[in-house]
Amino acid sequence: MAYSDKVLDHYEHPRNVGTLEKDDPSVGTGMVGAPACGDVMRLQIKVSDDGIIEEARFKTYGCGSAIASSSLLTEWVKGKTLEEAGQIKNTDLAEELALPPVKIHCSVLAEDAIKAAIEDFRGKADNADGSDNAKNPGKAA
């Protein structure tokens, strides 16, 4: 299958690969997808006190388009507010990476991942009164 240069670039040089401390209250973790479907994305964001995403990290099990979609997403969300990040659309990712129709689901998964990470962070903030709210690391959105 022919990949666009942008997909190849993100695949060869993925940005922001890694892990943030999932129990840190300023970190939101989104894990979406399923191994049976051939892709699992874990996206983590570190949110500053004033609600800006200062760090983003990902790890992805999946095809080149899934890796590129999540890599690109980490670049896009950095510096954004949670609200702005939550408005990123899969179609924007798909367009930027020139994903073919059979790979659109990879960008959908990336959109799901940022939404799940934001939700996880907000859930922590809502329950910030000392309760243990570390999410099951395998919980999929």
Binding site: T19, A34, G38, K59, Y61, C63, I67, V102, G138
Partner: protein, 412 residues
């Protein structure tokens, strides 16, 4: 190492092989005005006679590899056509309007699509098909096969060597079961001819499909063995000039046929040496990667051909692995490139979980594969696995001791 302007190292011989230069040279003698271009069916002049002699010599070469009578070899366009002719031909002859025997056919879930899709078509025509589940090794359990045989079973179709796994089915034993009950037995031997000894004088196989391009012959050329004693009759699927004893009409492609004959001749000459070469390279490859954690060999490693080697690297997805292995021409068990996102139906039939089915790579090695190719392949594979596992959340979870089968995933 492969430099960027070189083509990838070819390790997909089970998909197709390059033609042996000796085969190409022979074929070129049957094409041009100064060559033997005649129609083998022309009875009235030397052009026809010479072409016919060449065709019959090739028929003998194909028959010799499998110890059959040349009269039992029917030329076709490839193993797919041979499978269609064998299965539909038998079904229509024994189970059609005039058929009194029955409409039940048995095959397995790991057959090639040429067999499975032909069986699906027969189901639409009113036949009943049983699809056997293989054991986790990929092998068919003979007791289970025997238990599915019925009075109205007309045909059993089981492949000899599986194209994805390389496992060898015990067709000699299956032939004993079917012959004792008067059931026709068809074997797709596209991957086994020239790799495994086939003796049709002792094996009770009634129909056998062959392909030329899997063993260094031309694409678009195959043959079907149709047993004469006891005589197997089938209904033609292509009608016309009554070529090939009425079983497959159409002008014979002399150049293709002599190419297939030459390829089968060389295969016989080369078989022992070729398989020893493949075994040494397969072992070298496996030794080079087996210390990577979570590596699984798919299919029985003892009852298989060494030229096909299928392994799964857990927690790495197949398509991205193929992408990382751009300097190697190999196949992935993951069909992620299609819209369906289905992992290999063969690996699933073995009961492999989806992650392992998605993570599989088939290496198939051949006549022109070298030790240096294997050593390069090992370097590429190790680098790719390390890179992709560093990217894989599943690998992290495995390393943290999380049981992935207990995780509740949301299928999408």
């Amino acid at each position: 190492m492969t430099s960027s302007n070189q083509r990838p190292i070819y390790m997909d011989y089970a998909a197709t092989t390059p033609m042996d230069p000796r085969v190409a040279k022979k074929m070129m003698q049957f094409l041009t005005p100064d060559g033997e271009f005649g129609n083998p069916a022309s009875r009235s002049h030397a052009y026809g006679w010479t072409a016919e002699t060449a065709v019959e010599e090739a028929r003998k070469q194909v028959a010799t590899l499998v110890n059959a009578n040349p009269k039992e070899i029917i030329w076709t366009s490839g193993a797919t056509e041979s499978d269609n002719l064998a299965i539909k031909g038998i079904a229509h002859f024994y189970g059609g309007k005039s058929g009194k025997k029955g409409k039940h056919i048995i095959t397995s879930k790991t057959e090639h699509k040429a067999v499975l899709d032909t069986c699906r078509q027969l189901e639409r025509e009113g036949y009943e098909v049983t699809y056997l589940d293989p054991e986790p090794t990929g092998l068919i359990d003979l007791d289970k096969l025997e238990a599915t045989l019925r009075d109205d079973t007309i045909l059993v179709s089981i492949m000899h060597v599986n194209n994805e796994l390389g496992v060898i089915q015990d067709i000699a034993a299956i032939g004993e079961l079917t012959r004792a009950r008067g059931i026709v037995f068809h074997v797709d031997a596209a991957q086994s001819a020239g790799k495994v000894t086939i003796d049709l004088s002792t094996m009770k196989v009634d129909l056998m499909s062959f392909s030329a391009h899997k063993i260094y012959g031309p694409k678009g050329m195959g043959a079907l063995y149709v047993r004469r004693k006891p005589r197997i009759r089938l209904e033609a699927q292509t009608h016309g000039g009554g070529h090939e004893r009425g079983m497959r009409s159409g002008t014979l492609a002399t150049h293709q046929i002599v190419g297939m004959g030459e390829a089968f001749r060389i295969a016989q000459e080369d078989m022992a040496k070729g398989q020893a070469h493949a075994a040494a390279l397969r072992d070298r490859l496996y030794d080079g990667v087996k210390d990577l954690e979570e590596v699984y060999v798919n299919g029985d490693m003892t009852q298989s051909v060494p030229n096909i080697f299928n392994i799964s690297f857990n927690y790495v997805e197949g398509e991205s692995l193929i992408m990382s292995l751009k300097d190697l021409a190999v196949s992935s068990g993951s069909a992620c490139t299609s819209a369906s996102l289905e992992p290999s139906y063969v690996l699933r039939a073995l009961g492999r979980n989806d992650e392992l089915a998605h993570s599989s790579i088939r290496f198939s090695i051949g006549r022109f594969t070298t030790e240096e190719n294997i050593d390069d392949a090992i370097i590429h594979v190790r680098a790719a696995i390390e890179k992709l596992r560093a990217l894989s959340p599943l690998w992290d979870m495995y390393k943290e001791g999380i049981d992935l089968s207990q995780v509740k995933w949301a299928a999408h």
